[in-house]
Subunit: 249 residues, 2 copies
Amino acid sequence: MSRYILTIEYDGTPFCGWQRQKDVATAQGRLEDAMLPFLKKKITLFGSGRTDTGVHALGQVAHFDFDGHIDCFRLMECMNAYLLDVPMNVLSLQEAAEGFHARASAIERQYLYKILNRQAKPCLDANRVWHVSPRLDAAAMHRAAQFLVGKHDFSTFRAAGCQAKSPVKTMDQITVTQDGDILAIRVVARSFLYRQVRNIVGSLVLVGRGKWSTQDLLDALGACDRRRAGPTAPACGLYFVGTKYPCAQ
Amino acid sequence: MSRYILTIEYDGTPFCGWQRQKDVATAQGRLEDAMLPFLKKKITLFGSGRTDTGVHALGQVAHFDFDGHIDCFRLMECMNAYLLDVPMNVLSLQEAAEGFHARASAIERQYLYKILNRQAKPCLDANRVWHVSPRLDAAAMHRAAQFLVGKHDFSTFRAAGCQAKSPVKTMDQITVTQDGDILAIRVVARSFLYRQVRNIVGSLVLVGRGKWSTQDLLDALGACDRRRAGPTAPACGLYFVGTKYPCAQ
């Protein structure tokens, strides 16, 4: 039995998230279906992380097992031909190192959240950004966000339905940068709680609007209470950028 | 009679270009219709330049005349409310200086052309880029493009149906830059021939693929013959970035 690893990008708009479900289009479902014509066998993919409906992926990673040799390049080409009518691509496909697991082996995950901060609605960026009209102070958001870096109980930013055993996570990095009317929030950690990024972004926007001080954000974090967080930022602004694994893999 | 100036952005995908036509959606047509509820009068817009079907605009400029005072901010808000279901926004609207004309007063026009240069089809960039699979040499394209800067007879890059009196134009600037798998070609001139940018991009891609040398591009330009140009690059990669006017306006 050999293990293979795929890197996948998709526009989350038409998908009901990553995880295979009955009767609706999901990223995992479409990918598994796309393997069938070539492998002639039902395959189960294991993703490095799930994405919600509408969330995009620039570098989702998944693995699968197969009993026999696969011509990786031909399988990738075949899958991409099958995926021509959906906004999803397999970017790479190769045999994995011994013991590799797309979820368990990950040592770092990176997300990007994009906000369009202007009066006019999104146009060329529709479904790619969260549209926030009131003027945001990106520098204040960045300063406040630095207090979330490190090991914390993130219960405040954890959504119902989270399957993580512990609400304690270590945030490696958060940056808020501005380029014209686009704010980019980049978040890096080994792993995240369910909707942690979107809940943090929703609270940072309160800071950016001047409704919350840095202390308000700290108080919310310290309360370990979901009801103390700001609103959840919408899915369409979120991008699963990628996952890092130890070099050996 | 007062003259007003608008700046408009649109995703060109759903529009049959800028110019109003009967029975099809065009940018000019939708904008003029959007003025009706507020101004209670049929208005004709004069754009700074036409865009073809599928070509995007980040900063199209247009003017119109109206007999009477207009609350510009309220008109803009009203138009944007009317345009909520189409990927188009009015970004600014104000009274124009005496003698201003969106097309005739322009002293500079800027276009951007985006190429996605990789094997996999566009995903999050669908309808926003030209997908070119073979590896392009952006530096070679930039070097060759510099020979197009200055005053030339651009007949080779002029499409049928061009209404310009002369094929002689002065190209102020062309740059080809690369950021990951995106190539950006920026072109600046006072005015352009019909499809000049897309025809130039098509030829530069031949240079980038190594099919044409810089000399081949020069020979094509010198031939003043449309049949000597490369293929016309598709509309979806082209963005009308904006128009500059003398400071007084």
